[in-house]
Subunit: 323 residues, 3 copies
Amino acid sequence: MSLDVTEIGSIPAAWTRRHLLGLEDLSVEELNILLDSAEMFKEATDDCTRKIQVLTGKTCANLFFENSTRTRTSFSLAMRRLGGDTIDFASGGSSMSKGETIIDTAKNIEAMGIHAVVCRHRTPGTPHLLSNNLNCPVINAGDGPHEHPTQGLLDILTIRQQRGTLAGLTVALVGDIQFSRTARSNIWGLKKLGAHVILCGPATLVSPLWREFGCEVSHNLDEILPRCDVLNLLRIQFERQSTRPFPSVREYAHLYAMDRRRMDRAKDGVLILAPGPINRGVEVTTDVADGPHSLILSQVTNGLAVRMAALWLVCGAAARDNE
Amino acid sequence: MSLDVTEIGSIPAAWTRRHLLGLEDLSVEELNILLDSAEMFKEATDDCTRKIQVLTGKTCANLFFENSTRTRTSFSLAMRRLGGDTIDFASGGSSMSKGETIIDTAKNIEAMGIHAVVCRHRTPGTPHLLSNNLNCPVINAGDGPHEHPTQGLLDILTIRQQRGTLAGLTVALVGDIQFSRTARSNIWGLKKLGAHVILCGPATLVSPLWREFGCEVSHNLDEILPRCDVLNLLRIQFERQSTRPFPSVREYAHLYAMDRRRMDRAKDGVLILAPGPINRGVEVTTDVADGPHSLILSQVTNGLAVRMAALWLVCGAAARDNE
Amino acid sequence: MSLDVTEIGSIPAAWTRRHLLGLEDLSVEELNILLDSAEMFKEATDDCTRKIQVLTGKTCANLFFENSTRTRTSFSLAMRRLGGDTIDFASGGSSMSKGETIIDTAKNIEAMGIHAVVCRHRTPGTPHLLSNNLNCPVINAGDGPHEHPTQGLLDILTIRQQRGTLAGLTVALVGDIQFSRTARSNIWGLKKLGAHVILCGPATLVSPLWREFGCEVSHNLDEILPRCDVLNLLRIQFERQSTRPFPSVREYAHLYAMDRRRMDRAKDGVLILAPGPINRGVEVTTDVADGPHSLILSQVTNGLAVRMAALWLVCGAAARDNE
């Protein structure tokens, strides 16, 4: 922990970004500021159950063009825990259906005295587009299969809390790499922090091209299992796929689900992560999901901490720019 | 009033429940603590129009799997009047549609630092299921036709405010007993507090089996009318019925609607209650609904008071347990 | 500015209205109180980006029976900037679908300790109906094609900020007059404050009957263009029309869109207004919408200021009545 709780109020001088669009662009120092700040807020608020008034009077707009209760709620709660306020813009009820462009929608929201925008959209690059057209900070809450930086950060924070560091760890991302923004954000963050990353799943969901980015690619979970310190079991995103990437769910579960049998062959103290909502019996069986190695609910709480940190940092950088 | 307004901040020692799942299980003392607390909050907040900061910094999640603006809003306002915050989870937008179990959904919400869950679900027992799987308090906001404890309490509070006591009163629940959770919660509460309960409606909606629970059963409103101190006119829940339990709405209204003609034959000072939304001309005619005997809008305000009391008591019990 | 920022807390003695239903009934003095108050709040809150605690503990209900993210959000943010709270009632999820009358719905909401109601409905006169049946203040947020007073006020405020006064200015409302509540509220307000109003659009959307109300009617934008100080480009409300009032969008744009060519022929310093969401390429081309004469985003910020003023004034009048 490089940050002192008593210092809350001014963000670290090394943090200069007004937007959080992805982990691919971040330096190791920036990643560590995000993780340290999240840790600081988690401690200062008793595991994110109390408020800390650092964004009092600020309002954040959730601009979600894809269905999401979980991430949207996590951002809303994070903003409120910081003493701020939130307002939701759903795509259905918005002026977008009256023919307005997304930039116009966002500029209109900003003109209502909004201090930050959290955006989810199925088109990769949408948050980046908004960040080029708004004065206020923009946080990417998922842009198609591209990035979901706060999800990557919360996964990494969860591992760091257990092991102290990411350096030297072997982390397997199992399952749906092809359609997963969570996978991409994890890959960029994990690599920068010194972890060895294995991407594991059926050939239809894991391309050998990933080797060019320094990842190991495997289609056989049982083979890599004994080497893994962490298994991050990605959700099969049935709703994002037009064709079935494997013959049957049962076959997928047979080859890739973490179950008791596989747990016996895994490393002692292996960590089981899964960004919810989980499909019990598909990526993970119930005994493993609810077992002692599972960190699934810690991830949810860390999500709040990471989003508090992200909102605090980008709003702080914007306030500093405006001085 | 056994509670002193100046004592707000610590819940009565006799209240130990962290959940409010129904009135069937409550003791007379617990019922009175709920009613007294509601009365206290109503007085302390000028008929629930002002805030009282007893749950500052706490957040309550509305987990509603059935459509409900009225009850959900009442709970939200109650929590905010206590200085707390609320977050809504609708079934449509939630992760449930991605295959998540309801227990996983609730545990995820709890892991976001939520302090209480208010649950409505069409399946009886759902709030009980959640209470067995969460650490935070759970309040039942209606589980199918089973119970709706805060509705029962607000009806009883409304009667008590007019008559000082429930003991010795004859209260008729008229109409849709079969499909009504409001009826069940009223029955348990009214019986415990010493009222005589008559269930009145067509044979298809009022089973003779209710006699085993100490209720009088009648199919003839005109016959029981002269004996009733209170008439609670339940909504015909057309949306909950697959077959029509009576030949026509007109016939139902002819036999069971409270109208001017029946008011003339009722006891002096009879109290007219109706848990909204009312079908004017079906359970009650407009002149009676808007007349001097009607307590329909008092019920709404009392709903707020009862929910403030319930949230304060269960959150207080949980905080005491955690000390 | 006739109001002093230090006086915030008590509304002007000359303001006695508990409801804001339209601009047609307002006196010039009342219009000026609204505009001056909006200006005051805008200054006092740093362009509506900070909170000012004048309605702390008050709750406003948004009772919107028509889809509207923009206006609803603007009212919600305005109430919160004043230190108050808001609660949303959407028509879809409400008890209206269970057969409740709108007056019953509104009375129920009021009985939950609500201090003001903001209402949008497709039927003209609905806010007026509610104001006759509720004790709390009612603000019209748009009733069919009738009035949308806060939109009229924000347009007028935007002009006044640029020119100091409305007196003597020539303001053209261009496009969809027939179906536009914005047009009606603008007409009443602009005429009272001394502006000359031209209504311009195809004969199917601009009736000659408007001449009886003291407006000039034109079907030829190019003809009136050199005389106009302000052009308010109304949205073609495709969703409100059952038949097409012109042969094609392309023809409409050819005759009425403000583009660079028409800007060259307009007065120096002409002001371009457009109540969003705008259809780029229909009422206005992109270079004009984003150009130096455009006040479109100022209108959005002024909307917040006007709604803060309206909520403060009607709640203040209601509080004074109750003393």
